[in-house]
């Protein structure tokens, strides 16, 4: 069975590609899958009949006792045969139903095939959670299939209705299943039925499960989704909404009935809702003009009928129930397919516009009459056999109830019988309406023009209708399978299915039904008037629409009511909750720290005072840059605090991070106006101060409480031993790359995401690649000699971007200085790309001298990190800082030359290395991230034990370097480029603009706020309009 399911899944996956090649001829090809499974199922038939179900179990989540367990017993086999048999036929039918140019045909074919597989899984699953998974999968696939015509409103609306209703029921069912599993102690459906749960848990759980079954099988009050679902293509209606999916609810009732039919709640739910559904469905069907809707309401009615009889819970009723299930699948699928043919030929399904079809489509008409007669329960068809058995079983149960003293069982039997009879009368009437409506010639109407349709299209419904006829005579051969299921139920076992039972009461009931049905047909005008007079009962679709629209509105108004404050508002709410919640908790607290020291060492209060003043000042100054620098005072203060409190790793990392943060801030802030815009009223300022102050006090108290709460010794005591075991002396680093490496793996993943995010935000089109290289300069024609990397480059600066206009006129610079700049030797590779005014020989020389040592030191830090302060983070940050220096000295081309790699590749390699280390040990039978070492004495570095944790640390190093590189080339290089381009586009003055732009960067606020800041190079349409307006 698992193999069959896998075949469905695999073929469904390749179906879209197949469809591209084969067009609509893909359908017969994929129909092979359900057909083959049908054949396989037949080979299992003898075993199942012998009472030996096929069972397959693959453990999946043993901790939760969830397994991929499948069990093919008689009931499952019957359903599986219907699902695969009808499935194959419907797929074949699709070949003629669709044209090759049908949009999304591949998707449709794949979904339909997948649905057949999921349905097969549903009826064969033994694990209740597997059952639920398949159950929900059918809902989702049904949603996708109903919504096949994505462009049609009604298609979307119907799909969503079906999904909402069935998943609502599905969730209720999940809760019910969990209740049953918890009470029964097993997840196996067969065991839950064999040894039923009892008591309140059973009542509750079963009621919830029935809710799921009712919603899926479209019983009152959820019946409205099924007619709406007729917006789907006809094959979907025939398969999902007649033969397969809606039977899932019936299947579940039939499955549970042997164990739970005697619960107090069972009969009221099953019989009352079943009867109501049967009558409401039949009544509504009787007034439909649209043939498909007529059938849909008819299906609703029949589903009610099925639930009544399968849920009644005796041997005879179960036998009748499964017989009816089979009969219904055959005739209803056939009728739907016929409607599809009529729709195709005549272009309408509204029978008021159809006339004279019967004469011109005799074959189709015959098929329809046979199927509809089976639906009405006329002999000699399977529908008659089944209905006869239903009446007989209910009548016998009722009589037995009277003889047994008139218990509630007897009463329910009579209620069920009465409902079935009334429903059956309506069924006869609407069956007649269908046939008359579809095929008869209307007086005074022109015969409807017809397209010629392929005769093969009628083959599939023909087979189904013929099966209805043949099965009626072959009942003795089918009965063993049905009886094998019914045997699980109590009651006399001497009942048999047959076309002729002799002059039994059931025959009388049948005859009465036919007579009354005929009467309804005869008096149809009076019926129609009555229909109009009686207000539509149980029109719960209105209720559903009302509920949905109320929920929509409430959700929208709540959202707009809560989310209108902007970022400060949200933050204020969050902080208020923090103060209110944790503040209250701290007030109620009783444990305080044992002792309080004023300071750890005398320098601490002075450091702290400086940091506190800087923090408060940062909160009040208006200049962005000043605020940033003040914040960095607190950061560097932390460096000292860490350094003096025995945390050299923290001090090192904090110092490097703080430096990079400042640089990055400057890179961005140079483009923003200097003053921080302030539109807040002063009241808000006070409120902010108070909120901040209170939050700070609460946080301080929390800190004290947390210290007081630590009464147990820390786990730090065991860490040194662990570190030694991991071949490392620096416990912090060992923890990062070994003991808590999972954590670090998560962290560097965050860094990769952040780097990607930064690059994506800045690069409008495509983020891949490294910083720009010198070779990219299209106005450069001189070959770049690789050896240039190694020695100062003697070319004059102007050779790169000749001709360069002298700035002497505009900037008051002497020609001599300009000349000197243009002939200056370059210490950096890309120094020549900068304008002479932006270059500093001192910085170039310094960077030139320091870059390579810095890289060497960073690698040193990386490798000694296991035993001394350092490690991947610190090393990576130092290397990043070296790149920062190269960029600051030489611009973006310099960055490209310094790190001629794709930042994304660095990040990816780093993550791959770390994750590879994590998974690598799995291949050697170890736990993830388990370490192994290789020890060696290396000069200078001392004894190094190269282990997998070192590889992990190298991964961390690469990720950090990649992050810094990505940040630099985005916020540095790309922002430069955008700025230059803006300057070029914004001012036709060309060379002058460069000067202005440079002033912009470096000089006072009055220039910084010039409107030239508009970015004309923006490619988004949003801004192209606004730049036009903003240009001077």
């Amino acid at each position: 069975m698992i193999l069959s399911l896998a075949a469905f899944a695999a073929v469904a996956l390749v179906t879209p590609w197949l469809t591209r090649v084969l067009g609509r001829r893909v359908f017969p090809v994929i129909a092979i899958v359900p057909a083959a499974v049908f054949a396989v199922l037949l080979t299992w038939l003898p075993g199942v009949l012998a009472g030996d179900p096929v069972v397959e179990v693959v453990p999946w989540i043993p901790q939760l006792d969830v397994a991929l367990s499948f069990r093919l017993d008689a009931l499952a086999l019957l359903l599986a045969l219907i699902v695969t048999g009808v499935g194959a036929l419907v797929l074949v039918y699709c070949t003629h139903y669709f044209a090759d140019d049908e949009p999304a045909l591949g998707r449709f074919a794949a979904l339909l095939l997948a649905f057949a597989g999921v349905m097969l899984g549903l009826v064969t699953a033994d694990d209740v959670f597997m059952l639920f998974t398949f159950w929900e999968a059918t809902s989702v696939l049904s949603y996708l299939l109903i919504g096949h015509y994505t462009g049609r409103k009604e298609s979307r609306g119907a799909a969503l209705q079906a999904l909402t209703v069935t998943t609502f029921g599905g969730l209720a069912m999940l809760v019910g299943l969990i209740v049953l599993v918890a009470a029964g102690g097993t997840t196996s459906l067969s065991e839950l039925v064999a040894e039923p749960v009892t008591g309140a848990a059973a009542e509750c759980g079963i009621a919830l499960v029935l809710l799921g079954a009712i919603s899926k099988s479209a019983l009152v009050p959820f019946h409205f989704w099924l007619p709406a679902a007729m917006a789907a293509p006809t094959p979907v209606s025939a398969y999902l909404h007649a033969a397969a999916m809606v039977k899932a609810g019936v299947y579940l009732v039939a499955r549970l009935a042997p164990g739970y039919a005697d619960l107090t709640l069972w009969h009221p739910i099953v019989i009352v809702l079943g009867v109501l559904t049967m009558i409401v469905g039949g009544w509504r069907a009787l007034r439909q003009y649209d043939l498909k809707l007529l059938l849909a309401y008819g299906t609703v009615s029949q589903l009610g009928f099925l639930i009544i009889i399968t849920g009644y819970g005796t041997f005879a009723s179960a036998l009748a129930g499964v017989a009816l299930l089979l009969a219904h699948a055959l005739f209803k699928a056939a009728l739907f397919l016929v409607v599809g043919i009529i729709d195709h030929s005549a272009g309408t399904r509204d029978w008021r516009k159809l006339s004279g079809l019967g004469r011109r489509m005799p074959v189709i008409a015959t098929i329809s009459i046979v199927a509809a007669a089976s639906m009405a329960g006329l002999p000699p068809l399977l529908g008659f056999v089944a209905k006869e058995a239903v009446f007989a079983s209910l009548f016998d149960a009722g009589v037995a109830g009277i003889e047994g003293g008139g218990g509630s069982d007897g009463v329910w039997a009579w209620v069920a019988l009465a409902g079935s009879v009334v429903g059956s009368i309506l069924t006869v009437a609407y069956s007649a309406r269908f046939i008359f409506g579809a095929f008869f010639t209307r007086a005074g109407a022109e015969p409807t023009p017809l397209h010629a349709e392929s005769r093969a299209m009628g083959a599939t419904p023909g087979i189904l209708a013929a099966a209805s006829l043949v099965a009626a005579f072959a009942v003795p051969f089918i009965e063993p399978l049905l009886a094998a299921y019914a045997d699980e139920l109590p009651g006399p076992h001497d009942v048999h299915l047959a076309l002729w039972h002799g002059l039994a009461p059931a025959l009388g009931i049948s005859i009465a039904v036919f007579a009354l049905g005929a009467l309804l047909v005869w008096g149809r005008r009076r019926v129609a008037r009555l229909q109009a007079a009686v207000a539509p009962m149980f029109d719960s679709s209105r209720g559903y629409l009302g509920i949905v629209s109320v929920i929509d509105r409430v959700a929208a108004s709540v959202t707009t009511a809560i989310q209108h404050r902007g970022l400060p508002g949200y933050l204020a709410i969050i902080v208020a909750v923090f103060i209110g919640g944790l503040g209250t908790a701290t007030i109620l607290n009783t444990t305080w720290p044992a002792g309080i020291r004023l300071w750890d060492y005398p320098a601490q209060p002075f450091l702290a005072a400086v940091m506190a003043v800087a923090a408060i000042a940062a909160a009040t100054v208006r200049q962005r840059m000043t605020a940033v620098l003040l914040v960095s005072v607190t950061g560097y203060g932390l460096v000292l605090l860490f350094g003096m409190s025995g945390a050299p790793d923290l001090a090192l990392t904090q110092a490097l991070v703080e430096t990079i943060v400042i640089v990055v801030f400057v890179l961005v802030l140079r483009r923003l106006p200097k003053q921080i815009a302030q539109r807040n009223p002063s009241v808000h300022k006070l409120a902010r101060g108070i909120i901040g102050g209170v939050a700070g006090i609460v946080m301080g108290v929390i800190g004290l409480v947390a210290l007081g709460a630590r009464v147990e010794p820390t786990i730090a005591g065991g860490l040194p031993a662990l570190a030694i075991e991991a071949h490392g002396k620096n416990i912090v680093n060992v923890m990062l790359v070994d003991i808590r490496a999972w954590d670090t793996l998560g962290e560097i993943s965050v860094l990769v995401a952040v780097a990607t995010g930064v690059a994506s935000l800045i690069f409008v089109s495509g983020r891949t690649g490294g910083a720009p290289r010198l070779d990219d300069l299209d106005d450069v024609h001189l070959p770049v000699d690789r050896r240039d990397r190694l020695r100062p480059v003697p070319e004059p600066a102007s050779s790169i971007r000749a001709p360069r206009t002298s700035l002497a006129d505009t900037e008051g610079e002497t020609d001599a200085a300009a000349d000197a700049a243009s002939t200056r030797q370059t210490w950096l590779l890309a120094g020549r790309t900068l304008s002479p005014r932006n270059r500093s020989i001192l910085i170039e020389v310094l960077v030139r001298l320091l870059f390579h040592p810095a890289i060497v030191v960073s690698i040193f830090l990386l490798f000694v990190g296991h035993n001394a302060p350092g490690g991947g983070f610190a090393g990576g940050l130092l290397a990043g800082l070296a790149l920062v220096a190269r960029y600051l000295a030489g611009g973006r081309y310099e960055l490209g030359e310094a790190a001629p790699v794709d930042a994304g590749r660095l990040l990816g390699t780093g993550l791959l290395l770390a994750a590879g280390t994590a998974t690598g040990s799995l291949f050697f039978g170890g736990a993830p991230l388990e370490s192994a070492w290789f020890e060696a004495d290396v000069p200078v570095l001392g004894t190094i034990s190269i282990g997998t944790s070192t590889l992990f640390d190298i991964g961390v190093y690469l990720v950090v370097v990649g992050l810094v590189l990505d940040v630099l080339r985005s916020l540095g290089g790309e922002v430069d480029r955008q700025q230059e381009q803006a300057a070029e586009d914004g001012d036709s003055g060309g060379a002058l603009a460069v000067g202005v732009e440079e002033l912009d960067q470096n000089e006072g606020p009055e220039i910084a706020e010039r409107p030239e800041h508009t970015d004309a190079e923006l490619e988004t349409p949003l801004t192209s309009a606004s730049t036009e307006g903003a240009r001077p």
Binding site: E154, A608, A612, A627, L641, L669, N730, V758, T1020
Partner: protein, 165 residues
């Protein structure tokens, strides 16, 4: 466990200052506040090591009970690096929003009222479209319902009306 009051107070001040800056509307200020809060939280975690000792590096002559608690240090170290990443990301956001908004001196402010109107419009659109979908299918179903008077007066006019409705 004993505490250094100095560090607790410093942490509270940094946290309070950070929160009050974060409540402003300028994204740059929010980021500055975020950095302060980040530093404050790092101090809070670091506080939990208790009294400082030697660096947690097991060189010769260092006894395990003399060193500082390394666990908070590990947390803080990752937090510092993550802070760097988040800062860079927020700066990119700020730059991007400024770039898109082109608000001149208004810079990195986000206009709440406009967003509110847009959100309301969006929500109303969603409701309208889902209601339209539902109405469409309902209409289709209603159209198929038989009315008594149509049976009596089966004129083409009535049919047409039915179709249109």
């Amino acid at each position: 466990m004993t505490a250094s009051l100095t560090l607790v107070v410093l942490m509270a001040v940094l946290f309070g200052a950070g929160i009050s800056i974060m409540l402003e509307r300028s994204l740059t200020r929010v980021l500055i506040g975020f950095l302060l809060v980040g530093n404050a939280v790092n101090i809070l975690i670091f506080l939990m090591s208790g009294a400082p000792g030697l660096a947690p590096i097991l060189s010769d002559g260092v006894e395990p009970d003399e060193i500082s608690d390394p666990l908070p240090q590990v947390f803080v170290l990752t937090a510092i690096v993550i802070n760097l990443g988040i800062t860079a990301f927020m700066l990119a956001l700020i730059y991007r929003s400024w770039w898109l908004a082109q608000l001149g001196s208004a810079g990195d402010l986000v206009d709440d009222e406009e967003e509110l109107a847009e959100d309301a419009e969006e929500a109303a659109d969603l409701i309208r479209s889902s209601a339209a979908d539902d109405a469409a299918i309902q209409e289709l179903i209603d159209a198929s319902g038989e009315e008594a008077d149509e049976l009596v007066v089966q004129s083409p006019v009535a049919d047409d009306e039915e179709v249109r409705r």
